[in-house]
Symmetry: C2
Subunit: 170 residues, 2 copies
């Protein structure tokens, strides 16, 4: 359903609905949230092996400029890539656990109040707003203390980038 309204919005602006874009729109819509370009590319490739990574980037850029998707960083947990989600839901904050990577969404009046206060305080016209919160989720808080203790004896640096790179290699 988000896909339909997206397609409509694009058609109005004379944007062509190519096979590739339909695939990408469907994935962004159905998968829901928090996909980065690479993952979106991998998923799209299964539906059309010829589809190029560049097309993913170009499509995302277009959707972002058109205000159809929002770009997130998720506190750079997992790297410096960007994540995308459709712009349907009410404004919300993203809450990222820095230990397990779980992402929660928070809807609540402080967000609306914040926006309104900024608009009236500065006479600012708000187009985009992004709130990201990092910390430890309920589950990880207890596990964390233990880890800190262990780390003093045998420090481990998890190779953040290697994970993603491995998934890309043929």
């Amino acid at each position: 359903m988000a896909q339909d309204s997206m397609q409509g919005s694009l058609k109005e602006r004379g944007v062509r609905l190519t096979r590739q874009r339909q695939i990408l729109l469907e994935l962004i819509d159905k998968t829901g949230e928090h996909l980065d370009a690479e993952r979106l590319y991998q998923m799209a490739k299964e539906k059309d092996p010829k589809l190029n990574r560049v097309t993913v980037y170009r499509t995302l850029k277009m959707l972002k400029l058109g205000g159809l998707v929002d770009e997130l960083d998720l506190m750079h947990y997992g790297g410096d890539q960007h994540y995308y989600e459709t712009r349907l839901k009410q404004e919300h904050a993203h809450v990222i656990c820095l230990r397990c990577g779980k992402v929660e969404e928070f809807f609540g009046d402080p967000l609306q109040k914040l926006r309104k206060q900024i608009e009236s305080h500065f006479g600012f016209q708000v187009l985009l707003a992004r709130t990201e919160v990092g910390g430890y989720c309920a589950h990880c808080q207890t596990l964390r203390a233990r880890e800190v203790e262990v780390a003093r004896v045998a420090p481990v640096t998890p190779p953040k980038r290697a994970r993603r790179a491995a998934a890309r290699r043929p």
Copy 2:
């Protein structure tokens, strides 16, 4: 003064106060805000031409991990680099004009309320919070309408990356 408390905090943890770090700490402190790694490097190089860009990155990473500086994106206006500011002030949101690039800071109770609500709602331990808002500042709102009109006749794509790249070349 921020520099002093930073240095103290580092000393406590057995971090060495090298000449390079002193230069960087002073710049981060005095310049105040919103420096990216490259600009910080350029400024540091004037005080010590031998100081390497890598040292800037390593120092920023350390300060970030130590919770002494916060990392910002400023809505990726101007590119994908990160910006840094000392973690002294009260929590605040950054308000970025997408036309002129001006950055305002907003302090206000919605931010504290947001944090508290997230903590109690999810049982989450908040360590970092970042709110960035993009739009048009009061001054640019009027100028904007005119531009949109002009753009329909003679579209211009400003080369975002070229600006920064030019400044780096020898």
